[in-house]
């Protein structure tokens, strides 16, 4: 056994310099080299009780794959991860590791935790670069499952079931598969080639993906059952953008983060006019919210040439829901944080274009229902921030389409589909759901966990019948 690396800090991630990367859409983090991966892997103590695994929503055997890396067995490390996680190249890049595996890492008590996310990404990238072999064909069991939506929950559910011999068809409303991975998370954080490769991998295993099919309109959930699908998994995400409901929200130059990011990512608006979908951005941009979506919007606006990009958030940085790395990267790239600032009105000029954002400063009061300290307005602190673009990134809810077109599907008042937490089965027999459409906007890994759980329950039920 090699000697442990007792360095208290992670091997730093090679990155593009902030003042260079805030002008391009290439990936910010460049990834470990083999040498770096081996050194970092040497920091893992291989704890017997593996607290890190308990922090992982899909139970990746973390110490096991890291010890393979430490020995230079990169492909084995990858194969160890994919026993539990079908999309490691993605999770390694976008999981909030600080609240999950790395948050539980023993090395984190005195110093930085092991860079589990970076190592996961390394193993996945290594595999993608070096292995092109097709997977072994599986014996079909003659049963059919339909999956609605091709985001991480749907793809995971489909991938798990196809491995067990099911015929799986995924129906996706947009022209491209991937859900938020394709239309939401920007290229500089999650390269689209990589998402496409992960999806192709799942298709190569035998999953069929039909794009341009809007379930509820092109075909309903009940019709899928009538057409002979033995089970249906709904992984339609939380795509309905929230607005602030303040005056001026329909002025020209106000975007939902979804619209802004979809124009840039899915429609490649950053290449306009080479691609025909335009995206207009002012010199000064305010992004309202402080989650991952807000950071992605702000950093994208900067890359599109905005001079001053503000994050306007009514709570303080401690409550900001974004991953620690995103906040850090945003700050490095020159995004200006305005915490404890609550927008009250969007001001327009006589042509109906955005001219400014009216803001009331806040201070923190008593904890509210969410357990976070409630922002309270400071009297007389109003001011106007001169901006030409406002991007609203304050959260998304499930799209109402499926709920409106599926009689008998029980849902929460805010729109989430209600499921049995052990099986992910809905109030309708053999109809399952998971991911953001059940939880509301959450994370890639939780959506994957739900897809996996549903696949296991579907298999258990259908293999009895």
């Amino acid at each position: 056994m090699a000697k442990k690396n007792m360095q208290v800090t992670k091997v730093p991630m090679p990155e593009q310099a902030p003042e260079i990367r805030n002008k391009n859409f290439d990936e910010v983090a460049l990834g470990y080299t083999q040498e770096m991966a081996i050194v970092e892997a040497g920091r893992c103590l291989n704890c017997k009780n593996s607290p890190c695994v308990k922090g992982c929503p899909v139970n990746v055997p973390i110490p096991a794959f890291i010890s393979k890396l430490a020995q230079g067995e990169f492909e084995d490390a990858y194969q160890t991860i994919v026993l539990e996680n079908a999309l490691p190249a993605i999770c390694g890049r976008v999981c909030p590791q600080e609240n999950q595996c790395e948050g539980k890492c023993v090395r984190g008590i005195k110093g930085e935790p092991v860079a589990i996310g970076r190592l996961e990404r390394f193993a996945a990238d290594y595999h993608m670069k070096h292995h092109k072999g097709a997977s072994d064909p599986v014996q079909k069991n003659g049963k059919k499952v339909a999956v609605v939506g091709s985001g991480p929950s749907g793809l995971t559910c489909a991938g798990e079931l196809v491995k067990k011999g099911y015929d799986v068809s995924v129906f996706e409303a947009l022209h491209k598969a991937g859900g938020v991975l394709s239309y939401g998370i920007p290229e500089f954080r999650l390269p689209k080639d990589l998402v496409a490769a992960e999806i192709k991998n799942i298709e190569d295993q035998g999953v069929s993906i039909d794009t341009n099919i809007i379930v509820g309109r092109s075909i309903t959930v009940d019709e899928l059952t009538e057409e002979g699908y033995d089970a249906v998994f709904i992984g339609s995400g939380a795509g309905l953008p929230g607005f602030l409901h303040i005056p001026g929200e329909n002025l020209l130059g106000v975007y939902s983060a979804n619209e802004f990011l979809t124009r840039v990512n899915l429609m490649k608006g950053f290449q306009f006019p080479k691609t025909p979908t335009p995206v207009k951005i002012g010199e000064n941009v305010a992004v309202v919210g402080a989650g991952n979506v807000a950071m992605d919007s702000a950093r994208t606006a900067k890359r599109l040439g905005a001079k001053n990009v503000y994050i306007v958030y009514r709570r303080s940085i401690e409550e900001a829901p974004a991953r620690a790395e995103e906040l850090h990267h945003a700050e490095e790239e020159g995004i200006i944080f305005k915490f404890l600032n609550n927008p009250s009105e969007i001001i327009g000029d006589d042509k109906g274009d955005v001219a400014g954002l009216k803001i009331v400063k806040q201070q923190l009061g008593e904890p509210d229902a969410s357990g976070r300290r409630r922002p309270v307005p400071i009297k007389g602190s109003d001011y106007e921030l001169a901006v030409q673009t406002v991007i609203i990134a304050i959260g998304q809810k499930p799209n109402p389409l499926i709920r409106r077109t599926t009689p008998g599907l029980s849902c929460e008042s805010w729109g989430g589909i209600i499921v049995d937490e052990d099986t992910m089965e809905t109030s309708k027999k053999n109809i399952y759901a998971g991911g953001d459409t059940v939880t509301g906007a959450a994370t890639v890994i939780l959506a994957m966990g739900a897809g996996k759980k549903a696949a296991a329950a579907i298999d258990q039920k259908l293999s009895l019948s």
């Binding site: 409303a173 341009n212 099919i213 075909i219 953008p241 607005f243 329909n250 006019p273 207009k280 799209n399």
Partner: protein
């Protein structure tokens, strides 16, 4: 890929395409629309469904060549394919049998989405009249098709080359003074629909209009298509595209529709 089964030039700026799209054809209803991308990397453009054949699995769209993507689309020939054709989207128009009569008002390519709505009403036994407007005779669309089931077909052209010289609204004002109608369905440019409502609202004639704001996804995901109806924000792609004309904030719609005017120009220059 979705194959173009038939192509017809209706006039120098308007084409009709019949496209093989079984998933759309099997379920679509009057009032709904599709999202089309001409090629890889293309823009998603919404086009209202003009007709459909469930047996053949085909959907008819009629579009005006106005910008980059419609120009590109107009270069496609019979037998060619378009990259994407998703739908049906939007809520079907509410079309129930009426006691007296319904009057349809079409401006330019608005005739295309109006056609299936009036056709369905007529098939249910409601009497329908239609007023079709255009710049000149060549821009009056589908007059013969409407004549198949409409009691009366009125035509108005700006230059008087066909029918009445003047606006559809002039004909409408005369007609509602003469006959009893239960409803008006107006589809065309925003300014036309706004002016129709100026006549029908004082007359107390319920009026449905069809809005076509800028859209990105068409599935309710971006909110780019938001419109104000009775003071409330709605997403035209999901809650519409048909709305009660009395409640629509037309001025806001017009402003929002013009947001990318400069870019549309730049795109045409930039991409030839």
């Amino acid at each position: 890929m979705y194959k173009i089964i038939k192509k017809e030039k209706l006039n120098d700026t308007v084409d009709l395409l019949e496209i093989k799209a079984p998933f759309v054809a099997r379920k679509c209803e009057p009032g709904q629309f599709i999202m089309l991308r001409v090629d890889e990397d293309g823009e998603r453009i919404p086009l209202t469904i003009a007709d459909y054949d469930r047996d053949q699995g085909t959907v008819t769209i009629i579009y005006q060549i106005v910008g980059y993507s419609t120009t590109l689309l107009s270069q496609k020939k019979e037998g060619d394919c378009v990259q994407d054709f998703a739908g049906p989207m939007g809520s079907p128009a509410e079309l129930t049998k009426k006691e007296h009569k319904v009057i349809g008002v079409a401006g330019g390519v608005g005739a295309a989405p109006l056609y299936p709505q009036l056709k369905k009403l007529a098939a249910q036994g409601t009497k329908v009249d239609v007023i079709i407007g255009g710049k000149s005779a060549a821009y009056v669309l589908l007059a013969d098709a409407f004549a198949q089931f409409c009691d009366q077909v009125f035509i108005a052209t700006d230059d008087g080359s066909l029918g009445t010289k003047g606006f559809v609204t002039n004909v409408l004002a005369d007609q509602i003074a003469k006959e009893t109608y239960d409803e008006c369905i107006a589809i065309g440019p925003l300014i036309m629909m706004k002016n129709v409502v100026k006549i029908t609202k004082p007359a107390g004639l319920p009026t449905m209009v069809s809005l076509n704001p800028i859209m990105v996804d068409g599935t309710g995901m971006c909110g780019g298509c938001r419109v104000t109806i009775d003071g409330e924000t709605k997403f035209a792609c999901v809650d519409g595209p048909d709305f009660d004309g009395f409640k629509v904030n037309f001025d806001e719609c017009m402003k929002r529709q013009g947001f990318y005017r400069e870019e549309e120009h730049q795109c045409r220059i930039g991409r030839g």
